[in-house]
Amino acid sequence: MTLHTLNKHDKDLVQLCVSALAPEDSLLLLEDGVYAALGGTDSRLDTAILPAGLKLYALAEDLAARGISEKIPDVFIRITYRDFVSLSLTCNKVVNWN
């Protein structure tokens, strides 16, 4: 099981990252990547069509900094940097999409 981290909000990159997600993988949004959780008509991250079993996370600090903590769907689990470290240790590998 792979942890995917996405730290930019670039349409092509979000789309590529989403197409690489396998069931049982985890996706963590951080830095400007958290904007992808907002959805919107131009979004490439449609939580409705993501693989079943995929776990979704967003870094709480980065959500708070951008004022969107309350705006993103509950399907994203808010985590701290400390949780991020634990999460990375429970995964086989980390793929950073940048």
């Binding site: 792979t2 092509d12 990159l13 590529l16 690489a20 396998a22 590998k93 999409w97």
Partner: protein, 124 residues
């Protein structure tokens, strides 16, 4: 823990055009370095990264190095497993015959498997 030989390769994903940033060249440098040190390497071209593989590129007029020339030498560095993500070609109006070398075209599912099987994945 016994070594899992099926997960021994490094997977490089190159996603940027060769002409706007040094990303593509950096990726190629790392790929060739890994090859020189006999590390099993797989190289996957995604998104604008497929532009690197277009035949007929020449940066001479703009005074730039042509990365495509280095790519044709990949097999000399032991890198024979070169892949292209299917939708990257389709979305850019490109076909396999537009490319300067033979590649294996991968579907989404195949890309997911390739990532799962890799020891490490580096995205450029």
């Amino acid at each position: 823990m016994p070594a899992d030989t099926s997960k021994s390769h490094l997977l490089f994903l190159t996603t940027k055009s060769p002409w706007t940033s040094s990303n593509a060249a950096s990726c190629n440098d790392m790929v060739m370095t890994a090859g020189i040190f006999d590390q099993p390497v797989k190289l996957l071209f995604c998104n604008d990264g497929v532009y690197q593989l277009l035949a007929g590129q020449d940066g001479t007029a703009s005074g730039m190095k042509t990365l495509a020339r280095q790519l044709t030498a990949l097999d000399l560095y032991g890198i024979e497993q070169v892949y292209v993500e299917e939708s990257a070609l389709q979305e850019r109006g490109l076909q396999e015959r537009d490319l300067l070398q033979a590649v294996t075209v991968l579907s989404c599912d195949q890309m997911q498997s390739l990532i799962a099987e890799s020891r490490a994945v580096l995205v450029f």
